[in-house]
Amino acid sequence: MLGRVLLLLYVLTGPISVIRGAESFQEIQSRITTFTLKNGMTFIVMERHQAPVASFVVYADVGSVQEVKGITGIAHIFEHIAFKGSPAIGGKNYEEERLALDRVDQAFFALRDERHKGTKADAAKLKELESAFQAAQEGAGKFVIKNEYGDAIERTGGRDMNAGTAWDSTRYFFSLPSNSAELWFFLESEHYLHPVMREFYKEKDVVMEERRMRTESQPTGKLLEEALHAAYKAHPYGEPVVGHMSDLQEITRPDAESFFKKYYVPANLTGVIVGDVDTAKIRAFAETYFGRIPAGPKPEPVRTVEPPQDAEHRVTLRLQAERLILMAYHKPDGLHPDNGVYRAISGVLSEGRSSRLYTTLVRDQKIAVQAFGFPDLPGKKYPGLFTFVAAPAPGHENAECEKALETEIERLKNEPVSADELDGVKRRARAGLITGLADNLSLANSLAEWQGLTGDWRNLFRQLDQLEAVKPADIQRVAKQIFTATNRTIATIEPLPAEEKK
């Protein structure tokens, strides 16, 4: 069906311009239904009957930006804990389990308080408290049915079960054979209705391993953490999603309970279902399962606004790793009217082998093996960063790449981009949107993000109109506005000399 409508548009518009903006996606948009439950939770459903499967996403409008000092990492810990289940899944005899979990908390508090005494802590007492904590965890462990949540999905033939926490949001998703759709409604509603935070303190250890893997033992992970920290002095975009190690150690189950209660209200949740489903049945399931969750007030937005940067920030990591340079400029949030302009800049600079950064730094000057720039690191909800990355070729320095990037940035300010380049960006954006429609899960994720972020999934299609309207002069205007030396942070990896490596 979609194919036929688009084909008609080709015939009308000829082979060069293909399809124009959002209106060409009318047919697909007409197949998308939305509804909101009484408790405030929004759903989006798109029927796609190519195969008897469907993908399911929940977008929670809560991420690490909601954290304050002392509880960094808690949004991500909750994401892990959500998979531990509810009274109805993942455990047995909840009435007794509840008491056992309280005893684990008490044992943790006692141990923590003794540890806080530092050098004055009593070694014998510490040991005793550690075994008491261990024993309490074993006591609570008797009620656990290990990973029953994941087991239920796998036994139904589910795929792609995962979740992700970012600065702006937390997402939970998986795909199922479409006849088993009700399983998603049951499982997913349970962990917002009544999450049981069992195995909480063990899962914190798992998260600490995740931090070691992604950040502490990984040069690019270290670079990103340092760059964001240097770029933001006030706004939580400067803090790592995974959290600081000391906070991960200190966070308690009651901390996570109160974080959950405040932010996981239905008004903060969007459910998206794409696939071989029947919209009327989906709506009935949504009311039956998610309708059980009590309404709550939409939490207040983040108060802190990043002040304008008026000094260049530089941070140098000296590691056992090869060179890398990251150059980041503050920009407005991802919903700003200039959003299309930033996309166009990114497209001209970074898309394909004919892009400006590839042709200059990589192909012609041969000083880099990779070079690109893109908007909205680390998020779109609040003012983010337009970030350039270059990987110097062997024998070349970060400074050479920095200079070459600056030359290309100055060119953006001083001369209009060609109509040919800009048309290419617009056409690739349309083609990209078309290919994104082919996969249930990626389409569900896109719809969820635009709905969660902007309150209207149609903006997924409208962003094309925004890009379509961009003129060469807009690129010059925006480039002059944000690409200034005092508005940037430059973070680099410099290799340690060989003799210092071991």
Binding site: P52, K146, D151, A152, E154, S180, E209, A280, R283, A284
Partner: protein, 473 residues
């Protein structure tokens, strides 16, 4: 296709639904019968020059994809010129053809939002097109030309060599990447076609003549299977493909056989000491089987119980219970024409390195000794069998599978046989293959980590062989 799609639609006919009562447990859920899986039937034909083509119409989106599989790979490159295959693939695309300038192609394709790419891996080369349907007449002649008449200009060879030297320089920056590479080299033998890696010296040794000769040796129509799907009519697309490829003369060289894998026992303990990490990457394993091994289905189910998925034993015990790792899994990876690798992986803080090796071994050993539960056998089988619809959720998957089977000499109904094989696996089969294949005391165990922070010396587990990852100049 239309017919198949509309019959799938029947199962989603509109029913007026009312909110019901929530079930108390997921075990109380009653699901309707699964929907019918539509299976597209590609049109297959062979050109007089030996090239095989498979086509399926897919009208959902106004795009066309072409994906050619080519019998070429680094397995057949000379040891002293490791890197030749990958450079050949890259420069065939970036360097353009005798009559088409590579940089101009870049511009033209980017403006069309189309891609034409060529890449060469271990036992397979690929050449592909993605484009909006109206651009196929531009993209297809480009692909055909690049495959037959690559120019291999010197400046693009140099550019590709820089990229390869950079890969070499950066190959020790990512801990898990290092562990995976060296584990592979231990199991296959570091100087064999399956284990060797490119070095600065082998890259420097590659000349333009080598690339021209390599292309001549491997690129011939008899060595190519093309799969195409998208918004076209089969008859029209067939004519376009014939026009693009019919004039490509036969090369007359044989279909290359993959080199033999030496089956020497490569067990033992291997250590890569790296002072800048605080998490160890631990890999345990052995050479695995081919996909057509009679035990492959039983081994797949065995691995499902051990370490595939959120409810597997490794995940439940080593992660959820002992909290030793974020990443812990196992994988029985079979290849079509040679033995793959069985790997169990765990990433843990330096201070629990020996502990996690023991914990993973314990789970492996327990498979052969402790009884397998009905539930866990059912999970491992059902996650494959009930999820079979996902193997058909895109036309490209079905078509790609058929082309892959033909390419590697497998029967067309291999997936059906696999499905039947999985269905037939019993607990006794799992125990039998666990006993036969999971002798963890004979496995290779490789650790990358900060040795001085380990909980116990690695030598407490046996004799340790140190691997030096210093990059030769």
């Amino acid at each position: 296709m239309r017919k198949l799609l509309s019959s799938a639609l029947v199962f989603a006919s509109v029913v007026f639904a009312q909110p019901g009562k929530p079930v108390a447990s997921f075990k109380d859920l009653k699901f309707p019968a699964p929907g019918r899986i539509p299976v597209p039937e590609p049109v297959r034909f062979q050109l007089p020059n030996g090239m095989i083509l498979m086509l399926v119409e897919d009208h959902e989106l106004p795009t066309i994809n072409v994906n050619a599989m080519i019998r070429v790979g680094s397995l057949w490159e000379p040891a002293g010129k490791a890197g030749l295959a990958v450079i050949a693939g890259t420069v065939m695309r970036t360097g353009g053809s005798v009559t088409r300038n590579g940089d101009q192609l870049d511009r033209e394709l980017d403006r069309l939002a189309a891609s034409v790419e060529i890449g060469i891996g271990g036992d397979l080369g690929t050449a592909s097109i993605f484009c909006l349907k109206e651009d196929i007449d531009k993209a297809l002649p480009i692909l055909a030309d690049l495959l037959q008449h690559p120019a291999f200009p010197q400046d693009k060879i140099e550019l590709s060599k820089i990229e390869q030297r950079d890969n070499i320089a950066r190959r020790n920056d990512d801990p898990q990447g290092i562990a995976g590479r060296e584990f592979n080299r231990v199991l296959y033998g570091k100087d064999t076609p399956y284990g060797r890696v490119a070095e600065n010296a082998t890259i420097n040794a590659i000349t333009r003549d080598d690339l021209v000769a390599f292309h001549k040796q491997f690129f011939q129509p008899e060595s190519v299977i093309v799969a195409a799907w998208g918004d076209f009519k089969v008859a029209e697309m067939r004519a376009k493909l014939e026009q693009a490829f019919a004039s490509w003369p036969r090369g007359g060289r044989p279909w290359h056989k993959v080199p033999a894998v030496e089956s020497a026992n490569r067990g033992g303990l291997y250590l890569i000491d790296k002072s800048d990490v605080n998490q160890s990457s631990v890999m345990l394993g052995r050479l695995a089987s081919r996909s057509d091994d009679p035990d492959y289905c039983a081994l797949t189910v065995m691995n499902g119980i051990l370490g595939d998925g959120f409810a597997s034993r490794l995940f439940s015990q080593v992660r959820s219970e002992q909290a030793l790792a974020y990443a812990v899994w196992s994988n029985w990876s079979a290849e079509y024409e040679f033995p793959g690798v069985f790997t169990a992986f765990g990433g843990t803080k330096s201070e629990s390195t020996v502990k996690i090796i023991k914990a993973i071994r314990h789970e492996m050993d327990r498979l052969a000794t402790d009884p397998i539960g009905d539930e866990e056998l059912a999970r491992a089988k059902d996650s494959i069998l009930k999820g079979m619809a996902f193997e058909f959720d895109a036309i490209s998957k079905t078509l790609g599978r058929l082309a892959t089977y033909e390419f590697h000499g497998y029967p067309r109904d291999f997936l059906q046989r696999y499905q039947d094989g999985i269905r037939a696996v019993t607990k006794a089969d799992v125990v039998r293959v666990a006993k036969q294949y999971l002798k963890s005391d004979q496995f290779a165990v490789l650790v990358l980590g900060k040795e001085k922070d380990f909980d116990a010396p690695l030598s407490s587990l046996g004799k340790v062989t140190r691997i030096d990852i210093t990059i030769p100049k």
